[in-house]
Subunit: 129 residues, 2 copies
């Protein structure tokens, strides 16, 4: 089954969206991501959309949903690599990605997350292997 | 134009291969990656293939080429997330990825690179913005 890989980097999870999202792929990603946040005790999620030339309301909503789900699991979401044209489209679509942090690239996104993350009560136990 | 995003993380570049590679995409990736290694003064390249269920001789050769190109630019390449079935196929195809390091996941790959990287004579000047 087609799925988007989720890469673990320390306390963060990285997702690079490269392909056109369709309903099933988006649902699979939401499932996988929430499971991984829980299993890996992740504190932050980075979603890189630098290869997306077009972001429609479907993807915009998916990002908002993922961010809301991550938040209730005590993880922050940062969207990185958004193209200027995509930002214009999102605002024109009325999607301002409330509650989603953004950064120009993954490196800046990681910095932002590391700076923002408060020490967690659950940061001590590491993910089981 | 379709292209695979290259994410910069400190001295490392990360490429996640999610889509079927065809000739033009592979050539674009090689071009982009060599340009980025040079522009960003990267010391290591991580290629994650965890979402690839099938690796044929074309991709195998592409990985070997990228690794060889990176090496002459003084950067090490680590392939991460290879599935057991892919490892079997590669060996059966006679592609043993000579000179390419491998690691089970991106996190281990980053550790491997950070441990292996010798201090570089060019590590002091940072990439221009």
């Amino acid at each position: 089954m087609e799925r988007i890989p989720i890469l673990k980097m320390g306390e963060l999870l990285l997702v690079t969206i490269q392909v056109d999202m369709h309903d099933q792929l988006a649902l699979t990603l939401q499932d996988d991501l929430t499971n991984r946040i829980s299993a890996e005790h992740a504190r932050g999620v980075l979603i890189d959309i630098s290869s997306l030339e077009i972001v429609d309301s479907f993807i915009g909503r998916m990002i908002s949903h993922i961010s809301a789900m991550a938040r209730v699991l005590d993880a922050e979401t940062v969207v990185t690599g958004m193209r200027p044209s995509v930002a214009i489209t999102l605002v024109e679509l009325g999607l301002t990605l409330e509650g989603v942090h953004t950064a120009l690239d993954v490196e800046k996104g990681m910095e932002l997350l590391r700076r923002n993350l408060r020490p967690s009560v659950r940061s001590a136990p590491r993910a089981r292997r």
